[in-house]
Symmetry: C2
Subunit: 345 residues, 2 copies
């Protein structure tokens, strides 16, 4: 008989139940991770709103922005030991498709995203494939470590951009991922301007020391040109997912600028391809992260390159997950809400 643990299940229609279940033993190749914290991702909010019911069903433990410690090792797992602080890179690939064959396992054609396509981290013990683990420094705070997954998204975006120190950066959209892109770009030496229409988000960005523009009140392209000697931004992160954001990404771009498509555009926006021709712009699609992005994110969180205490705006216990989602859904100022799943290591 396994030990009883607490787990939160998504049950459809903006509802969770918190239940006692029997912990499964890790099978061969798996590691049991004792979860400390798990952040609420924008994707988790999509689940809450019922937009992903066909994919996740109504008996799913979600959550993937976690921190924890190794609780037990399945057969054949080497190089890890019980008690180590870890994070999970929640991607499981097939190993056989053309993307895997080309070395792009993180965008495998049959990718399983742990915590959506499988049960996730909103439970006290989470069994995951050993290859998904990254070991953390012993002295890293576990609440801060729960930011590693979203910071790794930003690290992937910034790495793909090829940002060099001193370059002019425009981040279009100041939600949690936009703010993290701005922080990681600044950490890499970029001169960052953040564009956002929401005044609460603008206030947060300014508190974090960013130069901001509100394109509802100012001509964004004129502002960027004025700040860059009529050159434009060398690197643009489109994080807004909006047609005005897509318009701005070409209007504000320098000759041969690199534009990183961070937002997920469910619709097909119109794009000013003439500007792509005229200024030889480059557009890079970016999805999740690769192992090196996780290592970079761990280094940035450890060094304080991201202001974790400002980014974490709420912490709730797992027993109050329902209230935490409801509060985050209504909050105009929240950045990252964490669920405290277990005890701090």
């Amino acid at each position: 008989m396994g030990k009883k643990i607490t787990a939160a299940f998504y049950r459809g229609d903006k509802s969770f139940t918190v239940e006692q279940i029997e912990a499964a033993q890790p099978v061969a190749g798996e590691v049991a991770v004792r979860i400390a914290y798990c952040g609420i991702c924008g994707t988790d909010m999509h689940v809450y709103h019922g937009n992903m019911d066909a994919r996740v069903g109504f008996n799913r433990v979600i959550g993937h922005e976690m921190s924890g410690t190794v609780a037990a090792l399945g057969d054949g797992v080497e190089g890890l030991s019980v008690g180590q602080k870890v994070v999970v890179r929640p991607l499981d690939h097939c190993g056989e498709c053309p993307a895997c064959a080309a070395g792009h396992q993180h965008i495998c054609h049959k990718l399983k995203f742990l915590g959506l396509d499988t049960d996730g981290a909103m439970q006290e013990i989470w069994n995951v494939p050993a290859h998904t683990l990254h070991v953390l420094p012993d002295d890293l705070r576990m609440d801060h470590a729960a930011l590693i997954e979203p910071v790794a998204v930003a690290c992937h975006d910034v790495r793909l951009s090829g940002l060099e120190p001193g370059e002019d950066v425009l981040v279009i959209g100041g939600g949690p991922i936009g703010i993290l892109c701005a922080m990681v770009a600044r950490d890499a030496g970029g001169k960052v301007v953040l564009s956002e229409v929401n005044k609460n988000r603008l206030a947060i960005a300014e508190k974090l020391g960013f130069d901001t523009v509100n394109p509802a009140e100012q001509d964004l392209a004129a502002e960027i040109n004025a700040r860059t000697g009529d050159k434009g931004a060398d690197v643009v992160f489109e994080v807004s997912g909006s047609q005005p954001g897509v318009d701005a990404m070409t209007a504000c771009a320098a000759t041969r600028a690199r534009i990183v498509m961070v937002a997920i555009h469910a619709k097909k926006p119109q794009i000013d391809l003439f500007q792509f021709f005229w200024r030889e712009l480059k557009l890079f699609g970016a999805r999740v992260y690769e192992p090196e992005d996780y290592e970079k994110a761990i280094a940035i969180i450890t060094s304080g390159g991201v202001d974790a205490d400002t980014v974490i705006t709420d912490v709730s216990p797992l027993s109050e997950i329902q209230a935490a989602f409801e509060a985050l859904d209504k909050s105009p100022t929240a950045l990252k809400s964490l669920i405290k799943v277990g005890e701090d290591a």
Copy 2:
């Protein structure tokens, strides 16, 4: 008094006049080039149709796809000698704008395109800045050399794509530039499929040995997947300038494929940005060429990597420029029409 030469002037409304004018002496830093051949570019056809009247006016000698020999050197020009075979890279940059400062002189913010913004090569003697000249091998045929400018466009496109030998290439659009992209990509080791709806152009592409798909009759994405083991094309050249072409460029792309935007899209098409995210696609805008693209084009034309005799479908004397434009405008099968401006060297 200078010597009299023949020159063709665009006079508006699909009309040219062929006139005797006095040849100007090359000023300091200029070279007088005796023109052998000048090809008719798609841009020249836009001029003929009156689409560029505001830019070129009604007293303009057009033409830039030329070959010729050095006729005279202005003061201060070194490293060239009378009689050398040359081509002109018809770009004159300001040297002061942010693009020039970043080393991208070919897309200078104030770029002058010789033969549009200044008089061009549809005249017996053309004076150009010395820095625009590339010297040709002595034994290169001058009719073939008139293809160097459009081949340099294709060389720029292929170079920016980063094409590696053995990669799967899709060229969308089989007009003159599409055919040249296909030829240069094949010369670089790419496995090329060409997509085109016009049956005359398909026949030419097949005559040139290309695997073709007619997307009006076949499912292009299914055909590309079938030919690539469900991987998709590693490199896509969008040369059609159409919404269906833009739809195909994302639908046929492999994970992390590089899509080169060769066509000039005057309208803003809708783009499937979700696919950019999902497969981490890359889009590269490409405009004209840089010096190394000219050197590559010279090497390809010299080596026979482009089948020049098939590409050149018509040659007319300068005195018949009017008839040559009229014929090219109506022809369903023409690829490249040349004007024979002077005597062969």
